[in-house]
């Protein structure tokens, strides 16, 4: 058991900014600001015994700890970003002490400064598209997708007389073709929404669909994308999401918009 402390580092900000101190990921310690020239880092102390590699491996599997840490990390970064601009670091980035943090600020100065300039005045927004395939399939019987089904469906009348087994496989084949075309249409719709939203954003990225076990979402997540949106363009971005939702509601497509977030996905993820 060691009482040695490390510095949990949340984000990098402009050195002129002074975000309010608040409880850190370890609630015994509040956040503070470490400056080096034009840049500063928002940090808080954590006991290394609880934030060692071995300890974190075990603790991060505990969803309560994971959620607490993720939220605390995000709130600090979000608060700092709200007053000016903050480059968030990945969760659980821990330095040995103040000198290590200042070294980092000095070493990565140019890259961090340019990232801050790029994200200033912008927020990250999440947009997800969820499709209920059954409702779409049911609702499209008479539509373009449905017409393919009826064309295929007309064939078994001849086959029917020859063999019930043949008719069964024909129906299965038609059903699969129908499902494939519904699936292709869903992918196209997701890509179309993403392309449209990207025109209202400074930058955009598509992420993997979320894990259903964690998100609890129903249906298929055909789009999980994230956008860096200038604050003055937020209205047009949100309006675009809303008009898509309104025009697709009857097709059992649901759009979920969440945010704003500090721009985690738009500050570059690899060291120089």
């Amino acid at each position: 058991m060691s009482d040695e402390l490390g510095l949990y580092t949340y984000c990098v900000i402009d050195g002129a900014q002074v975000p309010a101190s608040r409880a850190g990921v370890d609630e015994q310690h509040c956040t503070s600001v470490l400056r080096d020239g034009e840049l500063a880092a928002v940090v808080s102390e954590v006991p290394l015994s609880e934030f060692s590699e071995q300890a974190l491996k075990e603790r991060l599997e505990d969803l309560t700890f994971l959620e607490h840490t993720a939220r605390a990390h995000d709130e600090v970064a979000f608060d700092a970003h709200a007053i000016d601009a903050a480059c968030p670091l990945p969760m659980c980035t821990i330095f040995a002490g103040p000198d290590s943090v200042r070294d980092m600020l000095a070493r990565d100065r140019e890259r961090l400064r340019s990232a801050l300039e790029r994200i200033r005045g912008h927020d990250e927004w999440s947009v997800k598209l969820l499709a209920d395939r059954r409702n779409i399939a049911a609702g499209s019987q008479q539509s373009a997708v449905g017409s393919q089904r009826s064309a295929v469906g007309s064939q078994p009348s001849a086959a029917k007389s020859s063999s019930p087994g043949h008719a069964f496989f024909e129906r299965k084949r038609a059903q699969r073709a129908h499902e494939r075309s519904v699936g292709a249409a869903l992918i196209d719709t997701a890509s179309e929404l993403h392309r449209t939203l990207a025109t209202h954003a400074a930058e955009s990225r598509r992420l993997k669909p979320q894990n259903r076990a964690i998100s609890g979402h129903q249906g298929e997540m055909t789009l999980n994308a994230t956008y860096l949106v200038a604050r003055e363009r937020w209205e047009s971005f949100a309006g675009c999401v809303e008009s898509f939702a309104a025009s697709h509601a009857e097709r059992a497509l649901n759009v979920a918009l969440s945010g704003p977030f500090a721009p985690y996905n738009f500050v570059g993820s690899s060291p120089p």
């Binding site: 974190l56 309560t64 993720a70 939220r71 992918i187 598509r206 964690i214 939702a245 985690y264 500050v267």
Partner: protein, 93 residues
């Protein structure tokens, strides 16, 4: 729609899409960072696999399984769908 500032918190899964695998990775004398941790246990691997990003231009993979959703945390998704979108979102100051 899950917007900050109107009394609800952002869904945990949306946060994990961000805080776990993205953010600026810095050089220097880092004692520990999540990227360095060899996360060997299955649960967290599944979790991390779900949030790893894919190529920006790639199509979203369709999930074809039809498993029952399992809520595993008190922070379950708080999506409110935009079936009837309205309401000016309030921002946190």
């Amino acid at each position: 729609m899950s917007l900050r500032g109107d009394g609800r918190e952002v869904a945990l899964v949306d946060l994990l899409d961000r805080v776990l695998t993205t953010g600026v990775v810095v050089a220097g004398d880092v004692t520990i960072s999540l990227a360095d941790i060899d996360l060997i246990r299955l649960d967290l691997r599944v979790l991390l696999a779900s949030v790893a990003s894919i190529d920006a231009s790639g199509p979203a993979a369709l999930e074809l399984d039809d498993q029952e959703p399992a809520v595993v945390s008190s922070g379950e998704a708080r999506h409110r769908m935009l079936g009837a979108p309205r309401a000016e979102p309030e921002r946190r100051p």
